[in-house]
């Protein structure tokens, strides 16, 4: 509750026109950013906890009183995905992507994950290997001086039929196979 309370208070502060439009002094802008960052980080603990309960609920192993939960996942949030940067997808040999749909209806989402290479396999929970595509991270983005990222490509796949107020997970692993790096359409050079 304190985590959620901090986020509520922060969102209250963010209603001020200074926070919305940028009519604040620079040091105040930094403070707004700090508040939001702390609130997001605090609430990610709540999200992690809730998602682990959901995962456990789906687990076939019986839960015994006092016994450790059979499976636990970190459910990290990559807040720099918007600049094609994410430690988990760039550095992990295998990882799980979970998408929670907050809408009241089923939806589809094209996932874009920053990756350093082009040798990944994406599977859904039905053991189906999904169609994937790689696209290079746009050159100007790669060259941003403050961007600390190994990602040269974005791994794209379609997460289809995410249930309303529900989630789907995808298992992503590096493979030994050889994949083609994306190349520009030669007819359009």
């Amino acid at each position: 509750l304190p985590h959620l309370g901090f986020m509520r208070e922060t969102m209250g502060v963010m209603q001020h026109h200074d926070a919305v439009t940028g009519t604040e002094k620079q040091k105040v802008a930094y403070d707004y950013a700090r508040h939001l960052s702390v609130a997001m980080r605090a609430c990610s603990a709540n999200a992690r906890s809730v998602l682990n309960v959901l995962v456990e609920g789906d687990s076939p192993r019986p839960k015994r009183y006092g016994a450790p939960r059979p499976f636990k996942f970190e459910f990290k949030t990559c807040s720099l995905l918007n600049i094609s940067s994410c430690d988990v997808s760039e550095q992990s040999e295998r990882f799980v992507l979970t998408l929670y749909n907050p809408l009241g209806h089923t939806t589809d989402e094209y996932v874009r994950l920053p990756v350093p290479d082009v040798n990944y396999v994406v599977k859904d929970y039905k053991d189906v290997v999904l169609d994937i595509q790689y696209v290079p991270v746009a050159e100007p983005v790669q060259n941003l001086t403050f961007r600390e990222s190994q990602a040269k490509y974005e791994l794209i796949f379609l997460a289809s039929e995410l249930p309303a107020f529900g989630y789907k997970s995808y298992y992503i692993t590096k493979s030994n196979g050889h994949h083609m790096k994306p190349v520009p359409d030669p007819e359009n050079m």
Partner: protein
């Protein structure tokens, strides 16, 4: 044969030989639609006079009702695949963009990257993206009210008093929280935003949105600083997305274009939350 196009079963975008968007075809409607980045030079005023203040954090006041171009021929690269087709455009050293069409989607995505805005010339700049379409909108356009009701705007007009605008550009700018649109009796063009921006339609068929600004003077409304952020020793780089939805303005089709816009708006502003977990479990254990 030298034209470039990307698209899917719903929407197709054609680019001219200079690398600019030239045409959009969707919903059985095809129109000339161009898009480019431009900028206004910021006014430097005398802050002792109320009506002559500098462009600043509170006010958008271009020096003249005139835009500057940033390039006449962006460099472009095209990537194609089974899921998405992309055109990467580089306009200059500080403006670039990726335009994408995903399979099965009715919109085209414009992911823009602007900054650091150069100020070595001592001129504040306010950068816009402008879409020009062959649509006879007759000065009428629509902006949203916090993602809900669309409000009708008429150029150089106010509903409740007779207005004579002295600043034609700034005086026609309105807040856009998620959508700006215009139409004639045959075609409709809407741009969805990923954040609140200022926007306008300064000519028939034209929509523009302000994406970034860097100013060198305070507007004397209280902030007492110029809007000139210098993180990491340079100006800020802004990155964001616009979604173009185009097609017939007729209401006898299903779904109507406005319904498509509404669903897309919901799916983009209330997008799925993404969580990543490194794991040592095998696939079978994970299942």
């Amino acid at each position: 044969s030298s034209l470039i196009d990307i698209g899917n079963e719903f929407i197709r975008l054609t680019f001219d030989t200079n690398g600019f968007l030239a045409n959009v075809e969707s919903d059985g409607v095809s129109r000339i639609v161009s898009q480019e980045f431009l900028y206004y030079e910021a006014a430097i005023g005398d802050n002792r006079e109320f009506a002559n203040r500098s462009s600043g954090a509170y006010i958008f006041r271009p020096k003249a009702d005139r835009v500057r171009t940033v390039t006449v021929a962006p460099e472009i690269t095209v990537y194609r695949g089974d899921l998405v087709e992309e055109v990467h455009q580089k306009f200059n050293d500080w403006i670039s963009q990726v335009i994408r069409v995903y399979k099965g989607q009715r919109y085209a995505e414009f992911e823009w990257l602007v900054g650091p805005i150069p100020i070595e010339d001592g001129v504040g700049k306010e950068i816009i993206t402008r879409f020009n379409a062959d649509i006879k909108s007759e000065g009428i356009f629509y902006t949203d009210s916090n993602g809900r009701e669309m409000i009708k705007r008429l150029k150089d007009h106010r509903d409740t008093w007779r207005v004579k605008l002295l600043e034609h550009t700034a005086g026609n700018y309105y807040p856009v929280t998620t959508k700006i649109a215009l139409e004639d009796e045959h075609a409709r063009l809407a741009i969805l935003t990923d954040r609140a921006q200022g926007g306008s339609s300064l000519a028939d068929g034209s929509l523009e949105l302000m994406v970034h600004r860097r100013l060198l003077h305070d507007d004397a409304f209280g902030v007492d600083e110029s809007l000139n952020e210098t993180a990491y020793g340079q100006g800020l780089v802004a990155r964001g997305k616009h979604y173009l939805i185009f097609g017939s303005s007729q209401l006898d089709q299903s779904p109507t274009l406005q319904a498509v816009e509404r669903f897309t708006q919901l799916e983009k502003t209330v997008a799925p939350w993404t969580f990543l977990s490194p794991t040592n479990y095998s696939y079978t254990q994970w299942r």
